[in-house]
Symmetry: C2
Subunit: 240 residues, 2 copies
């Protein structure tokens, strides 16, 4: 890998992290955006992020920046995963910047405020998050695609839920991210038939938020992958 670093000149790069942080609010997918304080793209909205420091990994930098720019320091329950790295030479007008992008999911949505380099931070409905700075439109779209796909074959959906949740809340997550309605009894059957997806909270612990029959509570299971997966309804006239 590093062979010949004394033979060929190697160029220094600025390395940043960018975060696509999702949560579900009022049944809608929301993304955390910050308003840029400086050029370029001053006044435009962008994904939170910032420069990597010499002593930290990209993962650590991502958590730090999230706290600094948005005040979200209580990131217990934060699911953070690398999306991919964006390295097109012209993606930043000033200089060569390589950015490691992350996708993150939060259960509830604590209010965010600006800080650090960000003029302000705000939860924005996904559909309204357009015309972002740099290539952030692309990063955001990639992140959303990835989340949607991972809901099918991992237990990732529980990362949108509080530690204890009802199957109705879990179904809401799927419906919101996929943008489709799901049959409730069938959803329930599949989730419970998938070992390691959720586990019932032992005590007759039931709790209601609102109207109907109180729902049983579940916790996230331990399974990394879902077998069988919870496939998205076939969009068009797919096979079946």
């Amino acid at each position: 890998m590093l062979d010949g670093y004394d033979k060929h000149a190697f160029e220094p790069f600025a390395v940043t992290v960018d975060l696509a942080v999702f949560t579900i609010r009022e049944g809608t997918l929301h993304v955390l955006l910050v308003e840029r304080g400086q050029e370029p793209y001053a006044g435009r909205w962008a994904l939170p992020g910032g420069f990597l420091r010499p002593d930290e990994s990209a993962e650590r930098a991502a958590r730090r920046e999230l706290g600094e720019e948005t005040g979200l320091t209580d990131v217990t329950g934060l699911h953070l995963e690398q999306l991919r790295t964006y390295s097109e030479p012209d993606r930043d007008p000033r200089m060569r910047v390589v950015s490691v992008a992350f996708a993150a999911l939060l259960p509830d949505a604590p209010e965010a405020h600006g800080g650090g380099d960000a003029a302000q931070a705000r939860w924005t409905p996904y559909e309204a998050a357009r015309d972002l700075a740099f290539d952030h439109d692309r990063i955001l779209a990639d992140a959303r695609d990835r989340i949607g796909a991972k809901l099918e074959y991992t237990g990732l959906a529980t990362a949108f839920c509080p530690p204890e949740f009802t199957l109705g809340e879990l179904q809401q997550v799927y419906e919101t991210v996929w943008g489709t309605a799901l049959d409730r009894p069938n959803f329930r059957r599949k989730v419970l038939a998938t070992p390691g997806f959720v586990e019932a909270v032992p005590g007759a612990a039931r709790l209601t938020g609102g109207r109907g029959k109180p729902a049983a509570l579940y916790r996230a299971g331990t399974a990394a992958a879902l077998h069988p997966p919870l496939l998205r309804p076939t969009p068009e006239g797919r096979p079946a």
Copy 2:
């Protein structure tokens, strides 16, 4: 993202690409390794890779390095995808290096030779590829996991096959990567029932390599995702 680059000092990083290049030879998964010519880890085997140049993306750098270090210039049919970026501060003993790792698949296995910074290059059985330089053991393991998982829900397996292939060859890919035997009639049925996975070569084009009944030829289909997916047999006593 880049807010405040004039407020906070930002550190320059060396950025490299590392490649886990897989092929199937004699029914075994092989990885392309290069022998390091210099310290650190001189004489040790490593994944091919090298420094990013100021005018190229990580993807371009990956293709270039593959050619330089291994002589694999005819990379038609090369499937290349980003794996993830490794950025632990101590992953290189000399300096701070952030590496964008790629997984690549090749149909046949043209012989590789050293070149550029690599003393030599060699196709190595995956099982024998241990004790690599830097954190390349980890990268290699991550790449293999990813490939195995993607075989389930994408048509990625065709990237290991020549442009036209038999279903037997395709099945070999699955069996090799997953390390499990599959029932031939059932495999056939599932592949053909999955729209967009493969398409029959129209002419009564059949061709034989060896003994038995000649097999029909297929080409890779256009589907990005497999619906339904081709799930791996459940390892232990999984549900079903």
